[in-house]
């Protein structure tokens, strides 16, 4: 009787571990659901929208200009930020704010990308903290769920 319960518990634990491993691999290498918050990507993505992100293009290095990506924050590695890729390495980007009279340009260094939010007036992005290393990109958003 006791052995029966013990056997069932171990089987349950085994299934939980298997499920956990598959879920972790899926989130790490395939993609997952992400809840976005903040006004910096309006009108494309509103506050508390649910989107689906896929991680395959990060591993095969085919993130392109214009993609919306989820990136680990350069200042706080535990939080993620969601922005659009404006420039890849070697591109010339405009680094000044839209309200400045004199525009300054610079080139995106090798291995980095330039990110900007769609809501340019209310977005902290590469115009504040500079180009972001490609290795910080977590995934690319493909479609909005809700």
């Amino acid at each position: 009787m006791f052995l029966n319960v013990l056997g069932k518990t171990f089987r349950f634990l085994g299934y939980t571990v298997q499920y956990g491993c598959i879920a972790h691999c899926a989130f790490e290498y395939l993609g997952g659901i992400v809840v976005c918050s903040g006004p910096s990507m309006e009108p494309t993505i509103q506050n508390s929208d649910i989107v689906f992100s896929e991680n395959l293009s990060r591993h095969f290095y085919c993130i392109q200009k214009g993609d919306i990506v989820i990136v680990k924050s350069p200042h706080d590695p535990k939080s993620n930020i969601c922005k659009r890729v404006i420039g890849l390495e070697g591109d010339k980007v405009c680094t000044s704010n839209p309200s400045d009279f004199l525009k300054s340009h610079s080139y995106v260094p090798k291995g980095h990308v330039w990110l900007e939010g769609d809501n340019l007036r209310n977005s902290t992005d590469s115009r504040c903290y500079g180009p972001v290393p490609y290795g910080l990109i977590r995934g690319r958003i493909c479609f909005k769920v809700y």
């Binding site: 924050s73 350069p74 200042h75 706080d76 590695p77 291995g111 290393p133 490609y134 290795g135 910080l136």
Partner: protein, 100 residues
């Protein structure tokens, strides 16, 4: 000694020693600024062989998000089997630590 993705080439992983954490001010070797305060969320890494190392003296402080793993032991070749000590060379100590 940590393993991180190279900020210059995202396909490459490099192994370097962590010299300073965020808030520390250190003296650099061959970097464009003589003294650098490591910004929030970043670390300063250096190779042990200073003259021939592609490290933070070349590309500046790296974001913590690029950190991948920590090297703890050398397994091969067997005559170099050892535990890697997290020791900071005394001449590379930071000049000022940020007080909590």
């Amino acid at each position: 000694i940590s393993c991180l993705r190279s900020p210059r080439n995202p396909e490459q992983k490099i192994i370097k020693r962590v010299i300073a954490l965020e808030g520390d001010i250190i003296k650099t070797i061959g970097y464009k600024k003589k003294y650098v305060k490591v910004p929030h969320g970043h670390i300063w890494v250096e190779g042990d062989h200073h003259g021939h190392s592609f490290d933070s003296n070349a590309f500046g402080p790296v974001s913590l998000g690029l950190l991948h793993a920590r090297a703890t032991h050398i397994l091969w070749p067997p005559q170099r089997w050892q535990k890697l000590q997290p020791v900071l060379p005394p001449e590379r100590k930071p000049l000022q630590r940020e007080q909590e």
